[in-house]
């Protein structure tokens, strides 16, 4: 960060930066995985008691996921 180049004393700067940060979250969120695996069972999800939900899309080639 460059000294004196960010108008830290300007409340509008902070307002605009918060909005920009929210926008950045909106950009990044679709790229993040929807569930995190637990350490005990890397292939399980947090809802491991529920029946396994199929993936959003099933695209396989002869029953196998494509390479």
């Amino acid at each position: 960060m460059i000294d004196g180049a960010l108008p830290l004393g300007d409340w509008q700067f902070w307002g605009a930066s918060v909005i920009a940060a929210l926008a950045l979250v909106a950009v990044i969120r679709p790229l993040l995985p929807s569930r995190r695996p637990s350490r005990a069972c890397p292939k399980c999800t947090e809802e491991s008691d529920a029946p396994a939900k199929p993936r959003r899309a099933e695209l396989t080639i002869e029953g196998e996921r494509p390479r």
């Binding site: 300007d10 605009a16 926008a23 993936r55 899309a57 099933e58 494509p66």
Partner: protein, 654 residues
């Protein structure tokens, strides 16, 4: 509060299910993703009567519930309650009155499920014109469920259908039994055909109607539309007319969107005092909204016209005409619809690949869709071809068309490569029902266009707007001090203000432009551009163009806005405005040489044809293929191909 009854709408393809769905639900429709389902569904709200609103799930058209294809499985899952953990309360079967023997067999397989069912025999008006009369009461007795003859197109019988659905949803207890036992074997078996013929004989009778000369006419039309040479010619002419109509018609709403947002921006600037929030609003929010909404007219128009062509029955024939060509590059005939729609936007195009039954074919189509030049590339092509061919609109137009051809060529070559390497394997031969030729329904086409437009807004709109806001912030900070040269210009302007006001104004503008340029160079975005400039220098790009290209990797729409800001034309500048073009054409690099040289402009043009620059598309590909590997492989391949091609172009012309 009692939850609204859920109605599952199902039937064979080409029975007018979608027309009926739109007739029942109108605009009260949304796309939902139920737990337990791997696809999205259209779900609508329909008022059955004054007290009852029902939820209608539009299921895909299937020839049989027992086929091992995703669409049939989906229908079975829905009817058996595996979607959203709830069985539908009522099954609404749509049969085609002009093809009853086959449709009755489908009805029998659905009736085996023993759930409250209402049957709508659609196209009753067409059947009547052909001299076929239907006895609804006899049909209800035979099948053991309410049967209503309707015309979804004209609205005939719809009110009675609503009443029947309300009654079916409210009635509990044992159902009526069909008059004769339902066939046990599958649709198409001898038992099922015989059963259907017997039922048909009881419920329908032939009388006098319009003479059926249509078979010969249909044969002739089919011959023309599927002919190896004539069929392709008709297809090419139809597509040329369609795209010509889109670009001609869309310019009016696009200009309106541009003007509206320019007016809003001016209004905001007048009302709000200067500061970061006003800049954010004008350049980030309003600019981002404008960048999103400006493409809606083209997208909506393309899907409207495609829906009309499909409803007319022509597109199924066109699929066979292009199948021969597509097979040579390893793509199925069914891929031509997604590839066509990708010219508006790759997002709905990729979603429509679900209709391609073979997984390899589908994957190959998904991976090459982004090569088709979408609406977002149009402003980039327009700007760069105008810069390349100054005062030569014909050549600029030819170059424009050349970009489309280059994209299609890259798509076909890549498809061929994929099908001989990573996706090697046999294709599924295309078997298609050829629906009857008919006058297309404008109402249905409007509903399709509306749905696709909403899909685009939902998937891309928020992302593009967010990117515009983030890019504004990265370009606005950190703040730089004024350029010393601009101070000198301002001093000179002050001196000559009274004696030569025009020249003074010109000096002020130049001073503002120098300050803007210094601000851009010193901002986070500019510093990133400087850091990565060596990578793009072989393509002929400088720091400024590197920033423009980098920012457009998330959404190509951002390129022209970034360029206008960089050269001081303003973010709301219009690429067709001659003064803006002149500003861009005369813009300079840091070393004083022209920014847009011929080799650099040509290299940029080739880059934008081939590069994958759409974050929403990358995300959707990952979702549809079930793996980030394919999405990232596609992104990498297209980026590398674009880079190499742009580099080669620059070197050839430099």
């Amino acid at each position: 509060m009692r939850r609204p009854p859920r109605i599952a709408l199902l039937g064979n393809p080409n029975t007018g299910k979608s027309t009926l769905y739109n007739r029942l639900c109108g605009l009260r429709t949304r796309t939902a993703n139920f737990p337990g389902s791997t696809t999205e569904h259209q779900v609508g709200a329909c008022a059955l009567n004054a007290e009852t609103d029902a939820e209608i799930i539009d299921l895909p058209g299937v020839y049989s519930l027992m086929l091992e294809i995703p669409e049939s499985r989906l229908c079975r899952d829905c009817l058996e309650g595996r979607i959203a953990d709830r069985r539908p309360d009522v099954a609404l079967l749509v049969l085609d009155a002009t093809n009853l023997i086959r449709n009755l067999q489908f009805a029998a397989s659905a009736l085996h499920r023993e759930m409250p069912t209402v049957i709508a025999i659609n196209m009753a008006d067409v059947a009547r014109r052909r001299g076929l009369s239907l006895d609804e009461r006899a049909a209800s007795r035979e099948l053991g469920v309410p049967v209503i003859a309707i015309s979804a197109r004209t609205g005939e019988g719809i009110d009675r259908l609503r009443e029947a659905l309300a009654l079916a949803a409210a009635t509990e207890g044992p159902r009526h039994q069909p008059l004769r036992p339902l066939p046990r074997s599958e649709v198409g078996s001898r038992e099922a055909v015989r059963w259907a013929a017997d039922v048909f004989a009881e419920i329908a009778s032939h009388g006098r109607g319009d003479a059926d000369d249509t078979a010969t006419l249909h044969d002739r039309l089919d011959e023309a539309f599927t002919h190896p040479i004539m069929g392709l010619f008709v297809f090419a002419a139809t597509m040329a007319a369609m795209f010509g109509a889109i670009y001609w018609l869309a310019q009016y709403p696009m200009d309106a969107v541009d003007s509206l947002f320019a007016w809003i921006g001016t209004g905001v600037e007048a009302v709000m005092g200067p500061g970061a929030l006003r800049e954010l609003l004008v350049s980030g929010v309003i600019g981002g909204l404008a960048a999103t909404l400006v493409f809606l007219p083209q997208i909506a128009l393309l899907f409207f016209l495609l829906a009309l062509l499909e409803d007319s029955g022509y597109l199924a024939r066109a699929a066979f005409a292009v199948d021969r060509v597509m097979r040579r590059v390893g793509l199925p005939g069914q891929a031509f619809m997604p590839l066509l729609s990708a010219h508006a936007c790759a997002l709905p195009a990729i979603m429509s690949t679900r209709l391609i039954p073979n997984p390899r074919d589908r994957l190959a189509t998904i991976l090459v869709c982004p090569f088709m030049s979408c609406s977002a590339r149009v402003p980039v092509y327009a700007l760069l071809t105008s810069l390349l061919f100054v005062n030569a609109p014909l050549l600029a137009g030819l170059a424009f068309a050349g970009c489309y051809l280059l994209g299609a060529l890259a798509a076909f070559v890549t498809a061929k490569m994929l099908r001989t390497t990573a996706l090697r394997g046999p294709s599924t031969p295309m078997v298609l029902e050829l629906p009857e030729y008919r006058l297309p329904s404008v109402r249905t086409a409007l509903a399709v266009a509306w749905e696709r437009a909403l899909l685009f807004l939902r998937n891309a709109g928020t992302v593009i707007l967010s990117i515009a806001i983030v890019m504004w912030w990265l370009s606005a900070y950190p703040k730089s001090e004024a350029d010393p040269a601009s101070d000198a210009l301002r001093e000179r302007a002050a001196v000559i203000a009274s004696s030569a006001p025009d020249e003074a104004a010109s000096l002020e503008s130049e001073a503002a432009r120098l300050d803007e340029r210094k601000q851009q160079a010193g901002s986070f975005a500019g510093q990133l551009g400087s850091a990565l400039e060596p990578i793009f220098a072989p393509m002929g790009l400088d720091r400024q163009l590197t920033v423009a290209v980098l920012t457009s990797f998330l959404a190509r729409e951002v390129f022209t806005t970034t360029v206008f800001v960089l050269v001081g034309a303003g973010a709301e500048a219009n690429g067709e405005d001659t003064s803006t073009l002149e500003t861009v054409r005369t813009a300079r690099r840091d070393d004083g040489t022209p920014l847009f040289t011929v080799p650099a402009s040509a290299a940029l043009l080739v880059f934008y044809v081939l590069a994958m620059q759409c974050l929403p598309t990358v995300v959707l590909v990952a979702r549809e293929t079930g793996s980030w590997r394919w999405a990232l492989a596609q992104l990498s391949f297209m980026s590398i191909l674009a880079y190499i091609a742009a580099f080669a172009t620059y070197r050839m012309l430099a």
